[in-house]
Symmetry: C2
Subunit: 445 residues, 2 copies
């Protein structure tokens, strides 16, 4: 793991948007499913997933869900259910109420906050089929009050018997009961446009391969989508009060994700840097996924030497990492100075996997520097707001002329007249001169 000085360190990664061929293939699939519905959906499922189904068999049955519980260890059920409870408790604290501001003139202004009506969650097949991601995508939607949460996942990910039972148990623990065995760009298109079998959704969430990501971009606008995640990242800022074995293990836990993952240690201590470097080498040699982790460490890993913790914080703010561990003697001193980080882990016991699996906060967190302007998934991602305006007669009489002045200034006479027609009517009905009522307005017309 290379050691560099802060001034020589720069992490730049280009975002992947797929090849021309991949984009064209996805557009074709999306267009076909939009036009042909189930027929195209089943055709592409046979072509890509090598599973021949009819439309009636797309939905996972209640019996399959029940059976999944017999295929997994009871300890897994206990663990996933404990994690689900923590995630639910944390997200429940994010719920907001609709509110109103009641004005003395009788007007009411407010924001109405409602859950989205129907949300689709994509769960990839293969090695990236993570039960924890099912919880992290589904539970915030459920807490938000989304009445219809539908999951899609490629068929036959659990071998001949059907879908991976761990995924099904996670879905059931999270509270999903509408699941379809479809995957890839065709599943995204079916969720966005609907088919005879699949009712279309308002938003599509969840990770997937490049075809899934491109399909989500393609249908964005028809439905909402979550952000498209880049490779995972950790940055650790530690001083020599930290244990190099902890730091190395945390860096490697990120590096094992994939070759493009990034693990960065920032420290003011050159001695500590060397100790961590040695620990990474030692632990790497014994890691099952050492090939992946070694590539990630070589290509995107670094130990950055800074002059002070404060300079370290500046490096972190520049990186805006997805995960940030602050393992220094008095972390609270620096908390207020951290401007950009998706998730902040404080102290020696807050190892990143604590947040990945269990503590409660979401593990879907902005990557690739976007923590500068975006946020971990939470309940807000599954709600929509409507403004509420109830204007009283008194308020309109008091402010109508002001509103008309602003409208006319913008050349929008029709806007002014929508107010004027009301003022004139009230004027004629009350027999009073308008000017006498418009007390709140004091301009020089």
């Amino acid at each position: 793991m290379k050691i560099v000085r802060a001034q020589d360190f720069d992490l730049k990664r280009e975002v992947e948007y797929g090849s021309v061929e991949q984009n064209a293939a996805v557009r074709q699939i999306v267009t076909d499913v939009k036009r042909e519905g189930d027929a195209a959906l089943l055709r592409y499922t046979e072509q890509f997933d090598r599973v021949r189904l009819d439309a009636g068999a797309l939905r996972v049955t209640e019996a399959e869900l029940k059976a999944a519980y017999d295929h997994v260890e009871p300890s897994f059920v206990t663990a996933i259910s404990a994690a689900a409870a923590n995630i639910r408790a944390f997200h429940a604290r994010q719920k907001r109420n609709s509110w109103m501001d009641l004005q003395p003139d009788g007007s009411l202004l407010g924001q109405i906050i409602r859950p989205l009506k129907r949300v689709g969650v994509y769960v990839p097949g293969g090695k990236a089929a993570y039960p924890s991601s099912v919880l992290m995508n589904v539970i915030p939607a459920q807490v938000a009050g989304v009445p219809e949460i539908v999951m899609v996942t490629p068929p036959a990910t659990g071998g001949k018997e059907g879908i991976d039972p761990y995924i099904l148990v996670a879905a059931a623990e999270a509270g999903v009961n509408e699941i379809y065995r479809i995957g890839g760009a065709q599943a995204i298109a079916a969720l966005a446009y609907g088919t005879d079998t699949i009712v279309p959704v308002d938003k599509i969430c969840g990770p997937g391969n490049i075809y899934v990501a491109l399909a989500k971009r393609e249908v964005y606008g028809v439905v909402d989508i979550d952000s498209i995640a880049g490779p995972s990242e950790i940055a650790v800022l530690a001083d020599d009060s930290a244990d190099p074995a902890y730091i190395a293990a945390d860096l490697l836990s990120q590096a094992e994700h994939d070759e493009m993952a990034s693990a960065i240690l920032v420290t003011p201590s050159a001695t500590f840097a060397s100790a961590c470097q040695a620990e990474v080498e030692r632990q790497l040699a014994e890691l099952p996924r050492r090939d992946i982790a070694a590539t990630s460490i070589a290509d995107y890993g670094a130990i950055v030497i800074v002059d002070s913790i404060d300079e370290g914080i500046e490096v972190i703010n520049r990186l805006a990492p997805e995960h940030f561990e602050l393992i220094v003697e008095d972390p609270l001193v620096y908390l207020g100075k951290i401007e950009n980080a998706g998730a902040i882990f404080l102290g020696p016991y807050s190892s990143e996997p604590v947040g990945d699996y269990f503590a409660g906060p979401n593990h879907i967190i902005p990557t690739n520097g976007t923590a500068r302007f975006s946020s971990p998934v939470d309940v807000d991602d599954y709600i929509k707001k409507s403004s509420l305006i109830y204007y009283s007669k008194e308020a309109l009489l008091a402010n109508g002329e002001t509103i008309m002045e602003l409208a006319r200034r913008e050349g929008l006479e029709g806007h002014a007249r929508a107010i004027e027609v009301r003022l004139r009517k009230e004027e004629s009905q009350s027999g009073t001169a308008l000017e006498g009522k418009a007390g709140a307005y004091d301009g020089d017309k």
Copy 2:
């Protein structure tokens, strides 16, 4: 204005993403500004805006801002300042605090809510230069606490003297003091990538022509952008307790925006429908922007007859209109049933221009059916959240084995080891068997 039955009514509009040539032109401009900085910015400003500037002259001076006040009527200053106060008060109610959940085991979990650091607001030139939009884009950012708000607007929109003084006064009243005379795709690129003169921003907001919209899409990911607005829309649901003159005026106030704007009346009364139809004709004839409004009404206007107010609500929910006026005898009865509407205006005095200019809620509202899943601009659009995890030693000892089980189930041994290294160290230090401590976990390992 055509009258149709609900079952025969469908509003479908395709979203405009520009021609191949426009996309190519924008990509070229963005690439050039990214690479050449000020040189390209000034070159394109000369080419498109016909104004030759050097970099030192790009920023609007304090003296120009002051002078703008001498060019506008005092009544305008009074009006815009009253509107700004209302918008500020409404958005101030949306502010949220960072929060923490303190667990009995000593752990702290929370969300840290921070303003974005630097936001760019685009203000178009020409007829679409609306002072009210300056307020609606800037004030929520300011209320959120964004320390740096920078405005860009094409040069010479106020004739030979420089920038439209009404825009400058609105900017000053909203609290912007960093303004650059640049516009078009080149301004968007400069905000996203920065130049020697322009410090790059975290998010770009504000309306613009097709080149501006395409440039925002192009830089999305490098910075955040607001949503790209479609043509404006109003839907009114009214019974015969309403005044046809009010309804017609409100429909026309939307139709005058542009030829693509949409104005829909939904009503259970055929008599009332005819009365409104006649009123629209009568008022249209006298409207300064009657050519625009007439095209809009002919192409995208309709009066939809429904069997009941409840069926009317269903039509509204299907439309998910940007603006929705509910002018029926007891509007509160129906409020809970409105699922999809960007802004809801209740009762006869809540004419849409009340919200466009003055009441306080934002006038930047989702269009084209996207109110199904998105929301009016508010303070949330200018903040970012970080998760906070401080896990106590006690919590890690109690839950470590569960976390390891979940990690290993996903094949991520490195994740499990980041926990294990800590458990083993504590175990060796305390001399106690680990199992004795892991009381919260009851699985069958």
